[in-house]
Amino acid sequence: MSDSLRDAKAKSDDARKPDRGGNPPVRPAANGQDAVLSLRGLNKEYERGKPVLTDISLDFPARGVVAIIGPSGTGKSTLIRCINRLVEPTSGEVLLGGRDLTKLRGARLRAARREIGMVFQEYNLVERLSVIENLLCGRLGYVPLWRVWTRRYPDADIARAFELLDRVGLGEFATRRADALSGGQRQRVGIARAVMQSPKLLLADEPTSSLDPRTSVEIMTLMRDIAAERDIPVIINIHDVALAKRFATRIVGMSEGRVVYDGPPEDLADSHLQQIYGRGDAGEWIG
């Protein structure tokens, strides 16, 4: 079924060559040099013989928003968690800046993880901590434990936390407990926490699925803009095709653990959507 895809990939590999001048590179280089993140032959099985991800090979450029679309249960969340190893891939490589994260352990894995910010579907803030403490959680990979325990974070971190909080429009909520915020506000804190890590890459796992449509657009806008300001590439899992097409510079379509589409949003046709989401009127999803 993925023959057409392989053809498309082969074609794009040929077309990849120079041309980095004009438009944002929809097609990243496949050699792992220009790409900030490369996945090579990634497989994941939670149970033997039941693959969730099958042979995923993707390159992500150093800027822009890549949306991964697909029905739920197709392995999008697993894929994104394999990148920062919240989930252990069964086989394959995850190259961040040319270094294979799947080989790292202990302190070196954590040092790599702090360079990858992550935004979650249900925000996953530590509810009983204040907003500013949640932001400072983003510095846990950098700050020594005793400073964390005594809340003596470096002045620069605290200043940055307030700055970021202002940027996401929650300046006056600093000392509010996280569970006192609305969903949209929590996700703003979630984004700020991820950016606090000074990440080289931002992952987002269905960041808008728990939000109403209007807030979803606000959150997507914020994430795209804040990442662009700081020159951080973003990889977003999202099942809302309309949002994906609106905000992404590139779309990866997944079905049953495999990549079945990889290209610019404007080339995503109904036939692709049918392949990704199965039979039905594709128009429904792109509304």
Partner: protein, 268 residues
């Protein structure tokens, strides 16, 4: 299939709706028979109770008025009990934190949780009075034995409940903290503890409360505190002094309860 069977009478429907459970009925009947049998064995009769009432009246009569003349002895004992309770709570609760953490099955590997759980089970297996007797025999009379006994009891209670509280936390919050590149202790400090701290304070104040009560008891077996004084007063039939001690213990427990409630409220 029963739709086209002939209409049944009311009794038949009732029997179908509430099927008699003969096994449960037999168990309950057996239990009732045993209670009656055991009461007969132990001379648990009305006549015996009436005899007891007479003695009780004499006893209560000799308790009044309570005798506070030896207030220095009383204060000394109470103060020692209070100190036993506070020290045992502080040390016991402090030790419960790491032990409870190690016993949490959602954070720790099996080879850590099994020994931690075994330690907790051991600490829980005996009533504090038995533990107190063991410590008095092992390290001699005095408050130290009482303190050790109550420390063990505190670990058994607080560490177990703390471990259970940790096992109920939201792992989503933990995952998010882990994703920042935090070390294990970083995750514990910022991801786990904030979720369980309020409950931990709750358990700890209950334990302080309970230690206060138990600290008046360890003295009976030689573990220090007001219990020794109380036991001696009983033995010498100084029932008016006994009454004074009991009143003071009640006052202390109530004061402790008030403080514990206030503490819980402060940390919600």
């Amino acid at each position: 299939m029963s739709a086209d069977t002939a209409p049944q009478d009311a009794a038949g429907l009732r029997a179908r709706a509430f099927r008699p459970d003969w096994r449960m009925r037999a168990i309950w009947a057996g239990f009732a028979v045993y209670v009656v049998y055991a009461a007969g064995q132990l001379n648990f009769t009305w006549d015996r109770f009436v005899i007891g009432l007479d003695r009780g009246a004499v006893f209560l009569g000799r308790m009044f008025p309570p005798e506070f003349a030896r207030w220095q002895l009383l204060a000394e004992g109470l103060l020692e009990s209070l100190q036993i309770a506070v020290i045992a709570s502080a040390v016991g609760i402090l030790l419960s934190l790491p032990i409870g953490l190690m016993a949490a099955r959602n954070l720790m590997p099996v080879f850590v949780t099994v020994p931690a759980r075994a330690l907790i089970a051991l600490a829980r297996s005996f009533h504090p009075i038995i533990v107190a007797i063991i410590f008095v025999k092992a390290i001699g009379f005095g408050p130290l034995a009482g303190i050790f006994a109550l420390i063990l009891g505190s670990i058994g209670f607080v560490a177990k409940l703390f471990a259970e509280a940790i096992e109920e936390i939201s792992l989503k919050q933990v995952e998010a903290v882990r994703a920042t590149g935090a070390s294990f202790m970083g995750v514990v400090i910022m991801g786990v503890l904030p979720q369980v701290l309020a409950r931990f304070i709750g358990f700890s104040t209950y334990q302080l409360d309970s230690n206060l009560r138990n600290s008046t008891m360890v003295g009976i077996v030689g573990g220090g505190g007001i219990g020794g004084t109380l036991f001696a007063a009983f033995q010498r039939f100084d029932y008016d002094f006994v009454a004074a001690i009991l009143i003071c213990i009640i006052a202390m427990i109530m004061a402790g309860e008030l403080i514990a409630t206030w503490l819980r409220k402060t940390f919600q």
